[in-house]
């Protein structure tokens, strides 16, 4: 009884629903219940996305009203509303919606990835400039080796790297560590999830 009296309602909801879903994941008998709750969660996540949309709108609307770089906010709001209305109206496969996606979103997004090629090269150069610890040195040496192994550089292939060292690093030296990293992350995830189901972590502000 003490538990119930002292446990805030939100925490009780999180713990109860979390336990139900977890049990249903472990025991197939509860699949229907799980699917029902998951459908609610999927719906709520979509509504939350709309609230994110509203938040973005509100922030930039306020900025525009207060004259803080209003042109940028105006562009954002216009793009947001026009895209939403058109995509909603004619569906994501509609001509105008596809046009917006293919002519605006996709080029900018791929171009940002292209910019990343330059940013990452600069980051690696900075790493070379500034860090002198063991991990950074091993990181850089491996990076150089793997770049040499990636194929012919300036049209010249170095078989020692592409045929011998590169595959060895990829298939033996890194695979074991990647497995270790994945297992480590899964252990951390498990413990973090359990802290929430114990009610110890309450990101919902309970």
């Amino acid at each position: 009884m003490n538990l119930r009296l002292r446990t805030p309602f939100s925490a009780a909801v999180a713990i109860a629903i979390g336990l139900i879903v977890l049990v249903s994941l472990l025991f197939p008998d509860f699949t229907d219940l799980r699917n029902r709750i998951l459908n609610w969660a999927i719906l709520l996540a979509a509504v939350a996305l709309l609230l994110g949309f509203a938040n973005l709108f509100q922030v930039h609307f306020q900025k525009m009203r207060h004259g803080e770089k209003p042109v940028y906010s105006l562009i954002l709001l216009a793009g947001m509303l026009v895209t939403f209305i058109i995509t909603f109206w004619e569906g994501s496969q509609g001509f105008t919606a596809s046009w917006i996606f293919n002519s605006i979103q996709l080029p900018i997004e791929t171009s940002l990835m292209a910019v990343l090629a330059i940013s990452l090269t600069i980051a690696a150069a900075r790493l070379f400039q500034q860090r002198k610890d063991l991990m950074s040195i091993v990181f850089l040496v491996t990076l150089f080796v793997l770049l040499l192994s990636s194929g012919p550089l300036f049209g010249i292939e170095l078989p020692l790297f592409t045929r011998t060292i590169g595959p060895y690093v990829n298939n033996f030296l890194s695979v074991g560590a990647l497995r270790g990293l994945l297992i480590g992350v899964s252990i951390g995830t498990l413990a973090t999830g359990l802290r929430i189901l114990l009610g110890a972590d309450r990101p919902y502000g309970g």
């Binding site: 977890l22 472990l26 998951l38 969660a41 999927i42 709520l44 996540a45 509504v47 939350a48 996305l49 709309l50 609230l51 994110g52 949309f53 938040n55 973005l56 509100q58 922030v59 306020q62 940028y72 900018i108 997004e109 940002l112 990835m113 910019v115 990343l116 940013s119 990452l120 600069i122 980051a123 690696a124 900075r126 790493l127 991990m135 990181f139 990647l178 270790g180 990293l181 994945l182 297992i183 480590g184 992350v185 252990i187 951390g188 995830t189 498990l190 413990a191 973090t192 999830g193 359990l194 802290r195 929430i196 114990l198 110890a200 972590d201 990101p203 919902y204 502000g205 309970g206």
Partner: protein, 247 residues
């Protein structure tokens, strides 16, 4: 030889509970030093000192997938930072690329402000969704960094390749960046480009290193035991078939 999913979960749960009550007062128990957390504390104090703003980037991961745990760890960090710096000149700001995590960040900040007795200073824009897809989230967060509206960015959540854009911008503006992600590609980018990277499961240790409470310490001890159990199992599982096959 292997443990079932239920057994793994049960073992982890039992260990967390056990370490929550056993040995928690042992003065000899400590945690290894992680430079990123030392630096994060220094950054928080600098931001309190000079009235600059910290950005806690919670990543683009949603709440309904394995990546949610990283965002939960980021929310723990947000709470700890807010408890210290919420009533400073420039309170910390949370940015995210997911609606649900944005709502949780707002909840976290609201309850922190309430605990500090400054609820009237809280407003919803302290936790923003700067974009609703991974790259647009990073693109939306860029102006904060480039315009120096934030002096430091702590990236704690699920980040992929877009992390590179944020850390590169931080470099460009002379700010400070700290980062951890559950996504391994994101980790590699953060390792190379963030001032202070968090590697592997270190992001999940945020609560314990930022003094979020004894259960976070207990959780780390449980993780330690679990990890060695896994090591043992790995050795047995891999070697057993080899010896079974010997004539």
């Amino acid at each position: 030889m292997n443990l079932s999913d239920l057994q793994w979960i049960g073992l982890c749960l039992a260990l967390i509970l056990l370490f929550s009550v056993w040995g928690k007062n042992n003065p000899r128990r400590a945690l290894r030093s992680i430079p990123a957390f030392v630096q994060l504390r220094r950054t928080i104090e600098l931001s309190v000192e000079d009235g600059s703003r910290l950005q806690i980037s919670l990543g683009r991961g949603g709440v309904l997938g394995p990546e949610s745990a990283a965002a939960f760890a980021g929310l723990t960090l947000l709470r700890q930072v807010a408890e210290i710096a919420a009533d400073s000149d420039q309170p910390p700001i949370a940015t995210t690329g997911d609606g649900a995590i944005m709502l949780l960040a707002q909840d976290t900040l609201r309850s922190s402000y309430q605990r500090l007795g400054i609820s009237d200073q809280y407003h919803l824009r302290l936790a923003q969704a700067t974009g609703l897809t991974p790259f647009s989230y990073a693109a939306g967060a860029l102006p904060f960094i480039l315009d120096r509206r934030v002096s430091a960015s702590a990236l704690a959540g699920s980040f992929g390749e877009e992390a590179g854009l944020l850390t590169a911008a931080t470099q460009l503006s002379g700010g400070f960046s700290l980062g951890g992600s559950e996504n391994l590609s994101g980790q590699s980018i953060l390792f190379a480009s963030a001032d202070q990277p968090l590697i592997g499961e270190e992001i999940f240790a945020t609560g314990a290193y930022m003094d979020a409470g004894p259960i976070h310490q207990a959780s780390l001890r449980a993780q330690d035991v679990l990890r060695w159990s896994v090591i043992l199992l790995l050795i047995i599982t891999s070697l057993l078939p080899l010896f079974e096959g010997l004539p």
